[in-house]
């Protein structure tokens, strides 16, 4: 098994505050995982706001440099620097899809111009016919067509269509890995499942691996193969998605699951917050020792802490 993407003990610190009151914030601390090249995988990163999931995604894309540790894509270290050819090659293989499609597209630029420039840059299509063909192929994969999109400005498409166009743009250069940062949180309820189902079919039919960043456990259960739960920059539980979400072990993972509002309880008014678990999680954050990830029998890793009071 060769690794497509290896995230190897990656940490990122940011300095915040003024000159005199400088302090360090650990956005990501010591996260490791790998995505294999052979089997396409939907790898989900879950955590609350501020848990470091977006920072991690930015580091994988090479937009941010890790403070320590290494991210390797196909054996090569990912960094924003290096030669232009190498960077382009990496960008063709790893493509991002952002949260809000209305912000990702310039409102004054037609949507097809984005698609065309991506095709020209990464596929090197010289004439219009070849560019159009590449655009249409990518749009067909997401259930749109060039005829629908050509000449349209972002406001003329619905949120769901625009997000699909954003995914089509990413697919033009035939990437092997998509990094999607909360791709459905800004999309309407009736269109949300079409995006989620699309990510699923990308994996099953095109063999594209997807890193799916979300805070929605229910869609994660629906599409993910593996899942990484992050609490304030630390990986607390990582492993097969269904195993973890059916019976989470780490207190924070249990808290997340307990906080999911389920439609199955409709009308019963089940809103009691899990105060016990919340307290437990807060106490874990106060501890000095960060604990370590211990591999369990069922294939997952759970962060465990040495006994004794913090």
């Amino acid at each position: 098994m060769t690794a497509l993407l290896e995230v190897d003990h990656v940490s990122k610190q940011f300095g915040v505050g003024g000159l005199l009151s400088r302090r360090r914030v650990d956005a990501v601390s010591d996260v490791s995982f790998a995505i294999t090249a052979e089997v396409p995988d939907i790898f989900t990163i879950i955590g609350e706001s501020g848990s470091g999931k977006t920072t991690l995604a930015r580091m994988i894309l090479g937009l941010e440099k890790p403070s320590s540790g290494e991210i390797r894509y196909a054996g090569k270290v990912v960094s924003g620097t290096g030669s232009r050819a190498e960077r382009l090659e990496f960008m063709a293989a790893v493509q991002p899809v952002f949260q809000n499609p209305f912000e990702a597209f310039n409102p004054l630029k037609r949507v097809d111009r984005y698609l065309a420039s991506t095709a020209r840059r990464f596929l090197g299509t010289a004439d219009d016919a070849a560019t159009d063909k590449a655009m249409d192929e990518a749009l067909q994969k997401v259930g749109l067509s060039l005829a629908e999109v050509r000449g349209r400005y972002p406001h003329e498409l619905s949120g769901g269509q625009l997000q699909r166009a954003a995914i089509a743009r990413a697919l033009i250069c035939k990437p092997s890995l998509l990094i999607t940062d909360e791709p459905v949180s800004m999309v309407d309820a009736s269109l949300r499942m079409s995006i989620v189902n699309l990510l699923k079919s990308l994996r099953d039919e095109l063999g594209v691996s997807v890193i799916y960043i979300t805070h929605d456990l229910a869609t994660a259960y629906y599409i993910a193969d593996r899942i990484l739960i992050m609490q304030q920059g630390c990986a607390v539980e990582i492993g097969p998605a269904r195993v973890i979400l059916d019976a989470p072990k780490h207190p924070y993972a249990r808290l997340l699951k307990a906080s999911v509002l389920s439609a199955a309880d409709a009308g019963q008014g089940k809103l009691m917050p899990a105060t016990e678990l919340m307290r437990e999680c807060e106490e874990l954050l106060k501890r000095d020792d960060a604990g370590r990830l211990v591999t369990q029998e069922d294939g997952r890793q759970v962060r465990e802490y040495s006994a004794g009071s913090p």
Binding site: E48, S49, S158, G159, G160, Q161, D188, A189, S190, L191, R192, M193, S194, V196, N197, H215, D216, L217, A218, T219, Y221, Y222, R242, L245, D246, L255, L256, K257, S259, V260, L261, S262, A263, A264, D265, A266, G267, Q268, G269, K270, L271, M272, P273, A274, M278
Partner: protein, 344 residues
């Protein structure tokens, strides 16, 4: 239980006239509904379905280009009846915050960034409450304690608080005058799951304690499932279905609702979820007949020509669909999951 709000055939349009070109956006088109005392009424709908326009009317924030074309919105506060569509500005001023209150969406943009929380409370609530100085401060501190916020919050600025705390402060602002009617517009959308549940349970507790009614707007159906007593679904400016929460989720009588309910993913269930094709209609030129017909799997000829009336199909359950009898719960919905469980 007596009604606190009666909305009768309300039509609120955006009327625009640019360089002689008239444009009419029918954001709220013929909505009739009531909210009872002590009830949480959930309103669901996607963006540009007109739900925000509707609650703007409820909140008496009717400003051009929006105009009330027809209908009335009457609040019954004690023995006082106020029709916000025709009330004078003084009258609206007299009910605002004390009787009719509003929890807004973006807590960061609601709170003034250069004023401390205590000053913001003073700006908002000192006049309607008629208190000042020590008495006012004590009142604020007791009220914040109900929201699990300590008195130290008063000296803080908005940016020093976490998202959940800020949202609790906005809830505190909206509820400090013990209003009888609260409008909440997506109050938890920007929060993550853990904080969301906490904030929702606080709103619910406050509502029970004060005995007020809440109109709760969000597009997240799983929030409605746990929060609301009754849910109304708005599609393209119209109320298309309304039912007690449990009933709406288990036995929807409109294809759009059936789809919304079935598309909710659940932990422990990986059945393929349906996705609804098409897009919500443009309200400046809505399709004739039922506005859902271009996306509806059940559409027949009559749907394209005539608008289905919102009628009571089961006691307490209203639906606007010509074919409500044929609406079946879809695969993936709880009703279907239950049947599958009982067979297995």
């Amino acid at each position: 239980m007596a009604d606190i709000l009666t909305v009768d055939r309300l039509k609120a349009y955006y009327l625009m006239n640019y360089y002689g070109i008239r444009r009419e956006v029918r954001a709220v088109d013929d909505i009739t509904m009531t909210v009872k005392q002590n009830e949480v009424y959930g309103i669901a709908g996607e963006s540009s379905s007109g739900k925000t326009s509707f609650i703007k009317v409820l909140a008496a924030a009717i400003r051009p280009p929006m105009r009330i074309v027809a209908g009335s919105v009457i609040f019954h506060f004690g023995d006082r009846n106020v029709d916000v569509t025709s009330a004078s500005p003084e009258e609206i001023e007299s009910i605002r915050w004390k009787h009719l209150s509003y929890i807004m969406q973006g807590s960061m943009s609601v709170l003034n960034p250069v004023r401390r929380i205590e000053n913001i409370f003073e700006d908002f609530a000192a006049r309607p409450l008629g208190l000042s100085g020590r008495a006012f401060k004590d009142r604020v501190i007791t009220h914040l304690a109900k929201l699990k916020l300590g008195p130290e919050v008063l000296r803080a600025y908005a940016h020093e608080l976490s998202g959940g705390m800020r949202q609790r402060v906005t809830i505190g602002l909206a509820t400090i005058c013990n209003p009888e009617f609260i409008i909440a517009d997506e109050p938890t959308t920007a929060l993550d799951v853990v904080v969301q549940k906490d904030v929702l349970s606080l709103i619910r507790d406050l509502q029970k304690e004060m005995g007020s009614s809440v109109v709760f707007v969000t597009h997240d159906m799983s929030v409605h499932a746990n929060m609301a007593d009754r849910v109304g679904i708005i599609y393209a400016g119209r109320l298309i279905e309304e039912a007690p929460t449990r009933q709406l989720f288990v036995a929807p009588k409109h294809p759009y609702t059936a789809h919304l309910v079935a598309s909710l993913p659940r932990i422990g269930d990986t059945t393929q979820r349906p996705a609804l094709e098409g897009r919500p209609p443009n309200l400046a030129a809505p399709p004739p007949g039922c506005r859902f017909h271009p996306r509806c799997p059940l559409a027949i000829d009559i749907c394209k020509k005539e608008v289905p009336p919102l009628e009571e199909v089961v006691p307490g359950h209203r639906s606007a669909c010509w074919r409500w009898r044929d609406v079946e719960p879809l695969a993936g919905s709880i009703a279907v999951a239950r049947v599958a469980e009982s067979v297995a």
